[in-house]
């Protein structure tokens, strides 16, 4: 975590003009030079935001994702290749290493071309499943564009989803977003790292146009199980975004007029441009990046001694953590979405306390929110962690662990016996005994002369 933060900071300092929190170098993999112009608005937008874009063909033999063992680019945009594979420089293993190195990938798919097997197996590692026949696309007979796909129903028009409680909303745009010929993804159940950005409507299903049969039996996925855009954040917070339809980024769809079937909705302009901007902002870490500024813990009554290594059982402890959020071009105080809270665990093997941290306006400074709480250490000695783990969809992960020792009462920290009223009878017992003894000794010594007679007489 520390290193990531340091990396973030260094990256930020290094390229001041960049808007991303991690760096501005962007590699775009595009097979044919000719296709570049199809995305001109998108490139312009990215360049306007400060990205240094390198365009490479997957066939380029000089192409390398790494320089001296470190990722050579901060971001990678993979556009669907025409050929079957991605070539030896973009194998799944390299891409995984690229992610492990902390760089972000935006993968755009298209149902026009068959999805390369390399991509398929890479996505499987992330627990994202693509339809098994690699040319399937998503159709929706109720939410298609009447203008462009009146027949095929393969241009989906999807409004932004209702924001969910407790989840930050980075992607909502007004109006409809068009996803022509999208490749639907199905997210695995197990992985908490996956989250869905855009889902297909309830009436969508996956369909392979190459199949000759009439009607679809046992579709690969239906309804809202189909994801058009999905996001994956690795443990190191590297982002991997899958966009089901690369065409959605093209100029044609940025200002196309679309119309939903049905009467009440008039034809309107798509919101693709806005959506593409939001998506790339997120995918390239311009938003939703969290950072821990400062962690402080101390005794509640003695706040001078900051971050001591050792506490005692039943100490009142104060803990505070400052978190800031990168918002396009600056660090701002982070506030969790409504209904959510940053939580602190005070744990040894298992949590002894799990507390929601409070932020107060008074402790919030210009670029960070201080979350704090006070609690009493449990009556159990051991090696404890102040552990804050904040993993939420679309936010980079925060994991901060401060290890402290909680010791037992020292021998002189127990109440002295004279402070316990219950002990007084016995204290007096001792002192009465000692007093009696002193008196006895005194009388004995005093009575010595009289005593002498008897041993003398006894010796007779």
């Amino acid at each position: 975590m520390r290193f990531t933060l340091l990396g973030l900071l260094l990256g930020f300092l290094g390229i001041v003009s960049a808007l991303s929190a991690t760096g501005s170098s962007l590699l775009v993999i595009i097979e044919e030079e000719a296709d570049k112009s199809k995305y001109s608005q998108f490139w312009a937008d990215l360049q306007g935001r400060g990205y240094e874009i390198t365009y490479r063909s997957p066939k380029d033999t000089n192409l390398s994702l790494f320089l001296h063992g470190e990722p050579a680019y901060s971001h990678l945009l993979l556009l669907p290749p025409k050929s079957k594979g991605l070539g030896p420089n973009l194998t799944p293993n390299l891409l995984v290493d690229f992610i492990n190195g902390g760089s972000n990938i935006l993968l755009a798919l298209s149902a026009e071309q068959a999805v390369p097997t390399a991509i398929n197996s890479l996505l499987l590692e992330l627990d994202i499943n693509l339809p098994s026949d690699r040319t399937s696309l998503v159709v929706d007979h109720l939410a298609y564009d009447l203008t462009s796909s009146a027949e095929k129903h393969d241009v989906l028009l999807i409004p932004s989803a209702e924001p969910k409680k407790g989840v930050v909303d980075f992607f909502s745009v007004d109006g409809l977003v068009a996803f022509p010929r999208a490749v639907g993804q199905v997210l695995g159940n197990a992985s908490p790292m996956l989250s869905s950005i855009v889902k297909a409507g309830a009436s969508a299903y996956i369909y392979n146009p190459k199949e000759e049969t009439e009607g679809v039996e046992d579709p690969f996925a239906t309804g809202s199980q189909i994801n058009i855009v999905s996001a994956f954040q690795a443990r190191n917070s590297a982002r991997f975004t899958v966009l089901g339809s690369s065409e959605a980024l093209q100029d044609t769809w940025f200002d196309a007029k679309v119309r939903l079937p049905g009467t009440d909705y008039k034809a309107g302009k798509t919101s693709n441009k806005e959506f593409a901007q939001r998506l790339s902002e997120w995918a390239f870490k311009e938003i939703g990046v969290l950072r821990v500024e400062q962690v402080q813990h101390s005794l509640d009554e003695d706040t001078k001694d900051i971050n001591p290594k050792i506490y005692r059982v039943k100490n009142d402890v104060r803990y505070s953590i400052e978190i800031s959020e990168w918002d396009v071009d600056q660090w701002i105080p982070f506030n969790p979405p409504t209904g959510d809270a940053v939580q602190l665990e005070f744990s040894m093997l298992s949590p002894f306390h799990r507390l929601s941290l409070n932020s107060s306006p008074s402790t919030t400074n210009k670029d960070a929110t201080a979350f704090s709480t006070t609690f009493r250490t449990p009556d159990q000695h051991g090696i404890f962690n102040f552990y804050v783990e904040y993993r939420r969809p679309f936010f980079t992960a925060i994991e901060d662990k401060q290890t402290v020792t909680v010791r037992h009462f020292a021998h002189d920290e127990f109440p002295r016996s004279y402070e316990i009223s219950a002990a007084w009878p016995w204290i007096s017992g001792i002192w009465v005994t000692i007093g009696g003894w002193l008196a006895f000794v005194a009388i004995w010594l005093y009575s010595k002369p009289t005593r002498d007679n008897k041993p003398a007489s006894a010796k007779k």
Binding site: E125, P192, S195, I310, G382, T405, H411
Partner: protein, 758 residues
């Protein structure tokens, strides 16, 4: 009369009083005692000469670390020491759970030497403490034996026996910095003070006995032996009708002061009142009050009924007290007997109920050759000495008899308790041998290596008791004719031979069996030169220099103290086996599959795992041989998850080769031990030299840990625990992906599809 004054004069250490003759004898005595002490020290230095000045074995490493802490931080910090580098993450309240006597002693010596501007490295003090105290032990056994026997040579013989008996040397060579190092001295000296107190009925001696008992309590858990032996002695004396005011004075003084003294040690605390082991002392204390009271009344009121009354009273009180004890134990007021204690009575108990105690090698029952090995000729002189005690059965002789009986039994049950047997064997043997010498050398010019008897026997006629020698002379003299020089020479020669043999045996045993530090192993090369195998230290220093200072190391508890002492890294469990569950957790992690072990290791924040593997070198004390104990201990806590039966083949064999059961082959311990081992050999030829079996051609594969270090002879292997996979996969999947195996496509799933909800 003479017999009564003599012990006192020797006891108070007054060798210089009296006439010139006595002066000479006293001087000789001192010189001899000093020589004996020097011998005792010297014979324990083999380990330093053979190897180096290093702390031995396991427990001493902890004591050494604690001593360093004491020296660096002072006594109060030591007292309140909360050790956060052991038993991670529980920590250990070290200051309150150790016997501080040893560390405080060496700390005091260190400070004293500094005070006279002799700065000595604390390590050297720790290494040489045990030999130093063995010299004192020899002196204490001289004093004790002088109290017990009238023969002037007995004390000196006992001193030299004590000085070189292997049974004691085994725990007190240089570097063996353990509690026993000073505890045996305290044991013998406390007994001496007790005998002195009983003999004289003096409060002062009783108080000194109590003080030294308190010191003993602070030094060794074996103090319970004293706590039970002294009351037993008193009880037996009462039962023999030998109650005397002297006994009352000495016992009550000792108990009242000694118990209070022992309660000052934080680790002992209220135990003397609460635990069953201490109840006999309390009971005898109460009994003595009653007996004393009745005795007092009897003096006022002598009548025959009183004998009867006394007897019945004693019996009734005993029964009532015992009943009360049982009742309190059952109701839980008094702590029940601890497991270690049960295992003293039933040698099979520990194996069934508390594997952790049974797993300690020094808690095993003693093999009978060990007695001869450790005590040599003393073992057959011992019964003779005990028999001698019966001949003049005074209070103190009763003590020896009781001590002998108890210690023999306990030594038979536990190897470690050989240590408590050794003093009484030395004393009894010395009494027997001196009896022989006194009888035969009364008027002779002895040609005998130990000078003491000769100087002393010259005046034996006028001075020693008329008792035993006279009896023997009168009975045997005319028949055997021991006045002749022939018989004298024969006996002297024989005894000399035995003594020389004994010395040779002791030297041989000491230098060959008991001087190995066990941290460093020695082997002989074909040309006879010594080859040092230093894998342990190699590995520990690797840890010290290549890992974070707070990297947690998981290993079996045997190595906990050494890792803490040499590598200075936090450990999960160590030789202070106070938390069985924690040890069982480690056992479970070691004996389970990787998928089970990994979460355990994560939870305990383990960074490195250390295993000891002797398969390459044929070092039999390795973890695979200890593995069954790990399994058993883990099974004690998780009987459903770890089963000892699964680790045996269907025919009940413990194997590591091709036929090893799956539970064995999949266990983390097995995998870590044999990981990459087959690469050392031609394919299919991997051979485990400890268990003498050929290993499977396909070596084990590891996914959750990676090899970090393997020592030169593969004895210590260290693995690093991998972090969680960055993409949230299991390590097996990640490993398979790395190798290029394509993941099975989810494809058509069987049954109803599980939908994602978010």
């Amino acid at each position: 009369m003479a017999s009564a004054t003599k012990p006192q004069s020797t006891a108070s250490g007054v060798f210089f009083e009296g006439e010139t003759a006595r002066n000479t004898r006293g001087l000789l005595r001192i010189i001899i005692l000093c020589t004996i002490a020097a011998t005792a020290v010297a014979s324990r230095l083999f380990s330093v000469i053979r190897f180096e000045s290093i702390i031995h074995e396991f427990d001493p490493w902890f004591n050494f670390r604690a001593t360093k802490y004491l020296v660096q931080n002072g006594f109060y910090d030591f007292w309140d020491w909360f050790d956060d580098r052991t038993w991670h993450p529980l920590g250990r309240v070290t200051g309150g759970t150790l016997y501080p006597g040893l560390m405080v002693t060496s700390g005091a010596i260190w400070h004293a030497l500094r005070a006279i501007s002799l700065p000595v490295d604390i390590r050297n003090i720790c290494v040489l403490l045990a030999p130093g105290f063995s010299g004192l032990t020899a002196f204490a056994s001289y004093l004790l034996t002088s109290e017990l026997s009238d023969s002037p040579s007995a004390g000196l013989l006992a001193a030299i026996f004590m000085g070189i008996a292997p049974g004691y040397i085994s725990r007190s060579v240089a570097g063996s910095y353990d509690n026993e190092a000073i505890a045996i001295f305290l044991l013998v000296f406390t007994f001496y003070l007790w005998i002195k107190a009983v003999k004289e009925g003096s409060v002062m001696w009783g108080a000194f006995a109590a003080l030294f008992y308190g010191y003993m309590v602070s030094a060794w858990g074996g103090y319970v032996f004293i706590t039970n032996l002294l009351p037993l002695h008193a009880f037996v004396l009462i039962c023999m009708g030998r109650f005397s005011p002297r006994l009352y004075v000495s016992y009550t003084t000792w108990y009242a002061l000694g118990t209070l003294a022992s309660m000052q040690i934080p680790f002992v605390g209220f135990l003397p009142i609460r635990s069953s082991e201490h109840m006999s002392a309390l009971g005898v204390f109460g009994l003595l009050q009653l007996v004393g009271f009745t005795d007092y009344i009897r003096q006022q009121l002598p009548s025959k009924q009183f004998q009867l009354l006394l007897r019945t009273l004693v019996l009734v009180i005993f029964v009532v007290a015992f009943g009360l004890l049982v009742l309190l134990t059952v109701s839980g007021t008094i702590a029940p007997w601890t497991g270690r204690f049960y295992s003293l009575w039933d040698t099979g108990y520990a194996k069934i109920h508390i594997p952790i105690i049974a797993s300690v090698s020094e808690h095993q029952p003693t093999a009978w050759p060990a007695f001869f090995f450790d005590l040599n000729m003393l073992i057959w002189l011992f019964p003779a000495g005990v028999y001698m005690c019966f001949r003049s059965l005074k209070d103190e002789q009763v003590f020896v008899v009781i001590y002998a009986v108890l210690a023999s039994y306990f030594a038979g049950v536990m190897v470690r308790l050989m240590l408590t047997l050794t003093p009484v064997v030395c004393i009894a043997a010395a009494m027997a041998l001196s009896q022989i010498l006194d009888t035969f050398l009364v008027a002779g010019e002895p040609a005998e290596p130990i000078e003491a008897p000769s100087t002393k026997t010259n005046d034996a006629k006028d001075k020693t008791v008329p008792g035993i020698p006279e009896v023997l002379r009168s009975t045997k003299g005319p028949l055997v004719g021991i006045y002749s020089y022939m018989s004298k020479a024969m006996i002297t020669g024989a005894v000399t031979c035995y003594l020389l043999l004994f010395v040779m045996h002791c030297t041989w045993v000491t230098s060959n069996a008991y001087s190995s530090p066990s941290v460093v192993l020695a082997s002989r090369l074909p040309d006879g030169s010594q080859h040092i195998i230093d894998d342990y230290r190699e590995a520990y220093y690797w840890l010290r220099q290549n890992t974070k200072p707070d990297a947690k190391v998981m290993s079996w508890w045997d190595y906990g103290y050494q890792i803490g002492g040499m590598a200075d890294r936090p450990t999960l469990v160590d030789n202070n086996t106070w938390n069985n569950t924690h040890i069982a957790t480690v056992g479970k992690a070691m004996s389970s599959r990787e998928e089970v072990s990994y979460p355990i290791m994560r939870q305990h924040e383990v960074d490195y795992v250390l295993v000891v593997f002797g398969g390459l070198l044929g070092y039999s004390g390795d973890d695979i041989n200890k593995f069954l104990w790990m399994i058993r201990i883990a099974e004690g806590i998780w009987p459903d998850e770890v089963k000892e039966r699964d680790f045996f083949t269907s025919r009940g064999e413990y194997r590591v080769d091709d036929e090893a059961p799956p539970a064995m082959k999949n266990s983390l311990m097995y995998k870590m031990s044999y990981y990459n081992f087959d690469k050392l050999f031609p394919a299919g030829q991997a051979q485990d030299r400890v268990r003498g079996s050929r290993l499977p051609a396909q070596g084990p594969e590891l996914s959750t840990v990676e090899e970090a270090f393997t020592s030169e002879n593969w004895i210590v292997r260290i693995y690093k625990v991998k972090d969680l996979d960055n993409l949230g996969r299991s390590h097996q999947d990640a490993g398979a992906f790395e190798k290029g195996n394509k993941k099975k496509k989810a494809g058509k799933r069987k049954g109803a599809r599980v939908l994602r909800v978010d």
